[in-house]
């Protein structure tokens, strides 16, 4: 009897140990899943910058030099300007659209007006539709590269110099470039 009960006890403590071990192994699985969820953020941004999935444009100045003008086709670029809540500005493009050859450099003006009496800083965030064309919209100079500050009542013309990369997929004939002005984010609290 006592031998048997010893064996049973040994077996049950062995099982407990095995359970604990497998339980701890599963914790590694969970840790992996947490790491994965954090890694999804840079992965998402990488995917977007490669594919233009979310219509984000490359937000740094491109060099003018290499692009050759593709005279065989025309692309229409439409402009939209909007202001998000919390920023007391008016903001609109001075021309609603432009038609140009890929590779051709164009300058368009946007106008912003601070309709409050206080100094306000805004940050323009671009978005391009269709997303397939987003990576092909190259900016040489843009008011969106840094935040813009307007004094109370100040009106400012904001230039955008850009060209369309001739690598633009042929099915894209019309693109819409939208700028939304957000209240500028305070740098590091």
């Amino acid at each position: 009897m006592s031998v048997e009960s010893n064996e049973a006890e040994i077996a049950s403590s062995k099982l407990k140990l095995a359970n604990k071990k497998l339980g701890l192994k599963m914790l590694w699985f969970v840790a992996g899943a947490i790491a994965f969820s954090i890694a999804l953020v840079p992965f998402y941004n990488l995917m977007c910058s490669i594919t233009g999935l979310n219509g984000k444009t490359d937000n740094s100045a491109s060099s003018i030099a290499k692009a050759k003008v593709d005279n065989t086709r025309l692309v229409t670029v439409e402009f939209v300007g909007s202001v998000m809540s919390g920023l007391g500005w008016n903001f609109y493009p001075k021309q609603s659209s432009i038609t140009l050859h890929p590779g051709q450099i164009a300058t368009v003006l946007f106008e912003a007006k601070n309709i409050t009496s206080q100094e306000l800083a805004g940050q323009a965030v671009p978005s391009v539709t269709p997303g397939e064309g987003a990576v092909n919209l190259k900016k040489i100079e843009c008011f969106c590269f840094q935040k813009q500050t307007l004094k109370g009542g100040e009106v400012k013309e904001m230039p955008l110099r850009f060209f369309i990369d001739p690598a633009l997929p042929p099915e894209v004939k019309v693109m819409t470039l939208s700028y939304s002005f957000f209240p500028a984010v305070e740098e590091k609290k």
Partner: protein
């Protein structure tokens, strides 16, 4: 016989009574009972909230509440029903039945099990407390973003969002602990001779559920934590002005959110075939095909998430991928439907309450699945997105496919758990009232959605009035029918006709070899399976 002496001793010492029994218990049946009780209470709480929503929608215009409060009811209703009613019900069954079904004395990690349950009540308090706080002028009420937490609204929202985020953290920890426990139990504690491919279907359903939970809950926890840091610590994961992207939240959320649908349903797909086999009195059809289909669905569920926001804007190749992969899920699901129907085919069927619920479940869940295919179509989705069609669809999958399935399980196992038979006549009345009222509530909503009524809005155009009135009246009937369910359960726990060990004539499985109710420590002698 030494094993019996050991357990006999255990039964006499360290057995606290009263509240301490429940606070400190590590017994899988006690914990299962607590999970199921908690689930039932929260089901009634979530149901009461939705009656408020339906009352407001009885007529166009705003009669009963402010839109802000309406939005809070909608969000908290969903969070409670998903995380505090459906998931705990499935976990409760897992705790009660998995050890019995696989011939184990208890769950593998009993203390973890206790902790897993006791995280739930605090999380429920966190979810609902902001309602009360608002009455005392603190904050502006509960989370008003819907259960999906979409930014920028959730970044701008009041303290209700913070409460909900912490509630989700607790719920997440609880279900991850529950899942680890189930995985370890299923891998280490099976009776000798029970290979993985001899496990009961319910165990299979839960094994896949548990893996999905462990893999995706951390992603939800991560996403809501980023939301929290965006709200309070100056990060910009989801704020476009700071270089973030609100759409990224939708990707993170639905990477969890779509598997979550299967997390809610897979346990039900596990025990429904067992119920069908019991009342058809013939073996389950296509056991292997069902197991493989469950795996296929589990695997596919993590690669289809973006069909929840086709209209957010995506390149065409991405739309096509998510459409086709979503539709691909219907193939293994069709295999399951075929197996369920074939299990009944030419069986000598009887229609006790669990069987009524199971058969009704197949039909109604089928409607839920088919309307889901319509929504998965990118071209059609442009019209249906965010309309009442979606609301009707997911209530067919989650109320019919989830809750009515759970009810089938309750009636099926209640005699085993309590040792008493429930009132069969009342059970049948409950089924018919539920099934009819459910359809009356949600069929009009399909048409409302097709006609263009948007979800999550407390007011609507007057041409939608009649269908909304039908839906509201039926929703109240549906809600009050559930009191029969509660009454039946309470009476069954208190007493009633003694249940036999086998309970059902055609019952198959190790849980039916034990007495009804099973002894406090099940399987004092380990069974073997051939």
């Amino acid at each position: 016989m030494s094993t019996t002496t050991i357990t006999h001793d255990e039964e006499h010492h360290d057995h606290p009574t009263g509240i301490m029994r429940w606070l400190t218990t590590t017994n899988h049946k006690d914990i299962g009972t607590m999970y199921l009780t908690f689930s039932l209470i929260m089901f009634l709480v979530g149901g009461a909230m939705v009656l408020g929503i339906r009352a407001e929608l009885f007529q166009p215009g705003l009669q009963l509440m402010k839109p802000e409060f309406y939005n809070q009811l909608i969000g908290v209703h969903a969070l409670i029903m998903i995380f505090s009613a459906l998931m705990p019900a499935a976990t409760g069954f897992a705790n009660w039945m998995i050890p019995l079904q696989i011939g184990a004395p208890d769950m593998a990690l009993p203390r973890l099990n206790n902790w897993g349950f006791w995280l739930l009540p605090p999380s429920a308090i966190l979810l609902t407390l902001p309602f009360t706080l608002a009455l005392f002028g603190i904050g502006d009420g509960a989370i008003a973003t819907g259960w999906t937490f979409y930014p920028p609204l959730s970044v701008q929202g009041g303290i209700g969002v913070d409460f909900a985020i912490f509630a989700v953290h607790l719920l997440g920890i609880s279900s991850v602990m529950g899942s680890i426990n189930i995985i370890v139990t299923l891998f280490n504690m099976r009776a000798p001779g029970m290979t993985l491919m001899k496990m009961p279907m319910f165990a299979w359903g839960w094994l896949i559920t548990a893996f999905l939970l462990v893999a995706t809950i951390p992603v939800l926890a991560g996403a809501v934590t980023m939301l929290l840091t965006d709200r309070h610590f100056g990060t910009h994961f989801f704020s476009a002005a700071g270089g973030g992207d609100p759409i990224m939240f939708q990707h993170l959320f639905w990477f969890f959110g779509h598997p979550e649908v299967y997390i809610l349903l897979l346990p039900v797909w596990g025990f429904i075939p067992q119920i069908l086999q019991t009342f058809s009195r013939k073996p389950m059809y296509g056991y292997k095909a069902q197991v493989y289909s469950l795996w296929a669905i589990g695997a596919l569920s993590v690669v289809v998430w973006a069909h929840h926001f086709f209209t957010a804007g995506m390149p065409v190749p991405a739309l096509l991928y998510f459409m086709y992969s979503t539709m691909a899920i219907s193939l293994p699901l069709a295999v399951l439907f075929f197996c369920w129907i074939k299990t009944m085919w030419r069986g000598s069927m009887t229609f006790e309450t669990p069987m009524l619920f199971a058969v009704g479940w197949i039909i109604l869940f089928g409607i839920g699945g088919l309307t889901g295919l319509v929504l998965a179509d990118v071209a059609a989705d442009a019209q249906y997105h965010n309309s009442y069609f979606v609301v009707a669809h997911f209530h067919y999958t989650l109320f019919a496919g989830g809750i009515m399935g759970i009810m089938a399980g309750v009636y099926y196992w209640l005699p085993k758990m309590t040792g008493h038979m429930y009132n069969e006549k009342l059970g049948k009345v409950h089924f018919w009232l539920t099934a009819i009222a459910f359809n009356m509530t949600f069929i009009p909503q399909f048409f409302l959605g097709l006609a263009g009524m948007p979800r999550r809005i407390p007011d609507y155009a007057i041409q939608f009035t009649e269908f909304n009135e039908i839906s509201t009246i039926a929703a109240f009937a549906l809600g009050f029918s559930q009191l029969l369910f509660v009454y039946n359960i309470v009476m069954c726990v208190k007493g009633g006709k003694k249940a036999t060990d086998k309970v059902w004539e055609g019952a198959v499985g190790l849980e039916w070899t034990l007495s009804s109710p099973p002894p406090y420590h099940s399987f004092t002698e380990q069974p073997t399976v051939n």
